[in-house]
């Protein structure tokens, strides 16, 4: 390894991960968010552990019961236990959120890398394409996809993923361009590394770290959009225990049974706040570390 090569390697590492500084204390908000995140993950993975009932099991004679000891969050119009339904619904929301973000991010990485790496013609083409997509509000794009391919959980996930892709692509492209002009990349170029070697070894690792933060925040966003689509009747179909669908069903009875819409709404809010707090916390740690 030549001196120059070593230098390139070192400054790359320095940019990517730095020495352990003073351990930052975990704030109250972060602690609560961490506990909530754990709870949500457990609820998504093993709902039976926290809510042993059947989320679809009806009991017409105990319909519209306000929150009591027997039904902590009350019951809905068919006597289904809302607590059970919410916990069993966690997996839809988290799964849709994670899958949609993965789709959006994956597509964003491909488009962003193409634009950032393959010269001006490709950059111009990809950018104009992204601008066309940006012209539509993200949700409208998702609605368009659902109109074409029909409602359902899978379509909703793909729709949300595709609609978030342009945002990610643009951030990745900007990040890529700024990393490309750093000293260690120039050093690697001088050393005669091929374009793809530089991309894989130096640029992408330095580009993707900040994306982790974006993705955490993005999951929250994707969950809201998925719930929005279900609320509009375009995502999960009744009687699926999905938060947006439950919120929509509760809206009908909002004047007489507030708990039917309050608790699903509360969980949507809590999940997004959790994702946001965690995302920001990770972001701060990476910047200040």
């Amino acid at each position: 390894m030549s001196d120059l090569e070593v230098q390139a390697e070192l400054s790359d590492r320095a940019a990517r991960s730095s020495q352990p500084g003073r351990p930052r204390r975990i704030g109250a908000a972060e602690g609560v968010a961490g506990v909530l995140a754990l709870f949500l993950v457990v609820a998504a993975a093993w709902p039976q552990l926290l809510a042993p009932g059947d989320p679809l099991g009806i009991d017409p004679l105990s319909a519209f019961q306000p929150p009591t000891l027997a039904h902590g969050f009350g019951t809905d119009e068919s006597g289904r236990d809302i607590y059970t339904r919410i916990l069993h619904g966690t997996q839809y929301s988290l799964l849709i959120g994670a899958a949609a973000t993965a789709i959006g991010l994956g597509l964003g990485i491909v488009l962003g890398t193409l634009a950032g790496m393959l010269g001006r013609v490709v950059d111009f083409t990809v950018n104009r394409f992204l601008e066309v997509l940006f012209a539509f509000p993200g949700l409208l794009l998702a609605l368009l996809i659902i109109v074409i391919y029909g409602p359902g959980v899978v379509t909703a996930t793909i729709a949300v993923g595709l609609s978030t892709a342009p945002g990610y692509a643009r951030i990745i492209r900007a990040q890529l361009i700024s990393v490309r002009s750093t000293a260690f990349v120039e050093a690697a170029t001088v050393l005669g590394r091929t374009r793809w070697q530089i991309l894989l070894r130096h640029i992408l690792p330095n580009t993707l770290a900040p994306l982790f933060v974006l993705a955490t925040l993005g999951i929250g966003q994707a969950i809201v959009w998925a719930a929005t689509l279900s609320y509009l009747g375009l995502g999960a179909e009744p009687p699926t225990a999905e938060w947006g669908a439950m919120l929509s069903a509760g809206r009908t009875y909002i004047t007489s049974a507030w708990w039917m819409s309050f608790f699903p709404g509360l969980f949507i809010v809590l999940t997004i706040v959790t994702a946001t707090v965690l995302g920001r916390s990770i972001d701060r740690r990476m910047r200040h570390a």
Partner: protein, 550 residues
């Protein structure tokens, strides 16, 4: 019938919450319990419909309930029906059938003109029937109702003669419906698009404008002369203007009524009806629709419901009673009949519809559906026992969709997989037209028991020009056909009733349908809307006698 809101004010006073009581009274300046004086002229009434916005305001085209709701304000029929079910004069003053019941002479009023100035006469009636029977009109309801009308001729300007291909005991009932209302022949000559946007009739209001996805504006017909025989007053309507809006979301619709943004709403949800009954400022008008009960039809034309045992099993596994009592909170009564409870000839047979999962399981075993897959559904020859159930979200209030969900849940216990698919109206029609359903709930409103012929005669499996076929259970039973055909020809009232009784028993015992309740038709109105009633024909509201006590 109308239920005046109850008064709790006295109770409030005696318990010492006088201040609160006054506050409530202050918020509702004109409650229904204020003394009602003479009808006042003028004002604008805003009506908010929960039904789908029609794609055409001419009810000849297609012919569904949303069209009937609005067109009853500007179109009128030859005859009407009173509260007792008797046919009464409207645009026709009198009628006489011939001895063989094959020719009917209608004597028309001679003082009526359409709102475009065209005279209402025998030629106008002739043009209207021709319009309904013209396949290019794409009429469904009116077309089916006129199936036996061979020709119509103008004997004189005020006498029109209907010649039938065979006796039709339902002719007057058919003609009383808003889907067979009379429109100006001059207006009918315009293109269908034009006529759909602004149909011209003889009614108390005139279609002034229609902003799609928003509202229809109706203005008073100042030259109005032709109220039906059971109207409360003569001359023009009291209201200056009617704004006919569409608010599909039931919670928003009720909120708009509470805030006074609208004055009347239809398709009220059970929980809001219960609330309104306890309120001073909102009144409730309950008016079940005639014709068929609200029911789930089982498609006997294809597997799995081509097997009577599977149909019976499905019916036995549906716990409708509990669903209705929990979801409708006393605002609907369980039906055990194919016909609405307002039909005098309705046959009710609760025993056919007993909830009995054990019997259902046995029936499925007998029918060969005796294996169970990993999800708990029954299987026969590698095929899962699935029931495709498209649901028209425009025609079912949320409480009704929840009834379907509960049926889905109870049917699952016996091994049926019910696939509910909530669809908008046009996708729903498309699913039916392509025979892509096993169970479906399709409201059908017609005056009189002849609705049975439309719903269960094998002829109705053949689509009308609009593409819609009404025999969604696809009942094809020569005996039922014979009974219904004979009944439709029989003019003797007792004999007719006996025939319809036999036909209904055979239909019910064939397990073709699962009745739920009467077609719910609840209106909520602000306490200061006075005189609103529904036409006893198909229970649509008429704003002719309505006025604002403000």
């Amino acid at each position: 019938m109308r239920h005046p809101a109850r008064t709790h004010r006295l109770l409030a006073a005696t318990t010492g919450i006088v201040a609160l009581g006054l506050l409530v009274a202050g918020c509702t300046p004109t409650g229904s319990n204020e003394p009602i004086g003479e009808p006042q002229d003028g004002g604008t009434l805003t009506y908010a419909s929960g039904d789908a916005e029609p794609s055409c305001l001419d009810p000849h085209v297609g012919g569904n309930f949303p069209q009937a709701l609005v067109s009853a304000q500007y179109l009128e029929s030859l005859v009407s029906r009173d509260d007792a079910g008797q046919i009464i004069p409207w645009l026709a003053e009198s009628w006489t059938p011939s001895g063989d019941a094959l020719t009917w002479d209608f004597t028309l009023r001679d003082d009526v003109t359409f709102t475009d100035g065209t005279v209402f006469d025998a030629a106008a009636v002739q043009a209207n029937i021709a319009h309904l029977q013209d396949p290019t009109t794409l009429s469904s309801t009116g077309y089916l109702a006129l199936g036996k009308v061979a020709s119509v001729e103008a004997v004189s300007p005020t006498v029109v003669r209907f010649t039938l291909s065979e006796p039709d005991s339902a002719l007057l009932e058919s003609l009383s419906q808003p889907w067979l209302a009379m429109e100006s022949p001059t207006a009918l000559e315009r293109s269908q698009d034009e006529n759909c946007a602004s149909p011209v009739g003889t009614g108390p209001f005139i279609v002034e404008s229609w902003v799609k996805q928003n509202a229809i504006t109706l203005v008073r017909n100042d030259d109005y002369t032709s109220p039906p025989a059971d109207a409360a007053h003569d001359g023009p309507a009291y209201l200056d203007e009617v704004i006919w809006r569409f608010i599909p979301d039931s919670a928003s619709r009720y909120a708009a009524l509470q805030s006074g943004e609208v004055d009347v709403i239809d398709n009220a949800q059970p929980d809001t009806i219960v609330q309104a009954e306890q309120s001073d400022s909102i009144d409730h008008l309950d008016s079940p629709r005639p014709g068929a009960a609200n029911r789930i039809e089982l498609n006997s034309g294809q597997a799995p419901f081509d097997d009577v045992r599977v149909r019976e099993a499905f019916i036995r596994t549906a716990n409708v009673d509990d669903a209705v009592s929990s979801l409708f909170q006393g605002t609907a009564t369980r039906s055990y009949s194919a016909l609405s409870s307002v039909e005098a000839t309705a046959v009710s047979n609760a025993a056919v519809f007993d909830y009995d999962p054990a019997a259902a399981a046995e029936l499925l075993d007998d029918a060969g559906w005796n294996e169970t897959d990993a999800d708990g559904y029954r299987v026969k020859d590698g095929v899962r026992l699935s029931v495709e159930f498209p649901v028209s979200t425009n025609q079912s209030i949320p409480a009704e969709q929840s009834v379907f969900e509960q049926i889905q849940a109870t049917a699952k216990e016996t091994g049926f997989e019910v696939k509910l698919a909530p669809l908008d109206l046009s996708s729903w029609y498309a699913a039916l037209a392509s025979n892509d359903y096993d169970a479906v709930s399709a409201p059908y409103t017609k005056v009189g028991p002849d609705v049975l012929r439309i719903l269960y005669h094998s002829d109705s499996i053949v689509p009308a020009p609009s593409g819609y076929f009404a025999n969604l259970a696809q009942v094809s039973d020569p005996e039922i056909d014979a009974l219904l055909t004979t009944a439709a020809r029989t003019t003797d009232a007792d004999e007719r009733r006996d025939l319809y009784t036999d036909a209904q028993n055979r239909i019910l015992e064939g397990f073709y349908l699962l009745p739920l309740y009467d077609q719910q038709n609840h209106y909520l109105l602000r306490g200061d809307v006075v005189g609103l009633r529904t036409l006893p024909t198909v229970a649509v509201p008429t704003l002719y006698d309505a006025w604002l006590n403000r």
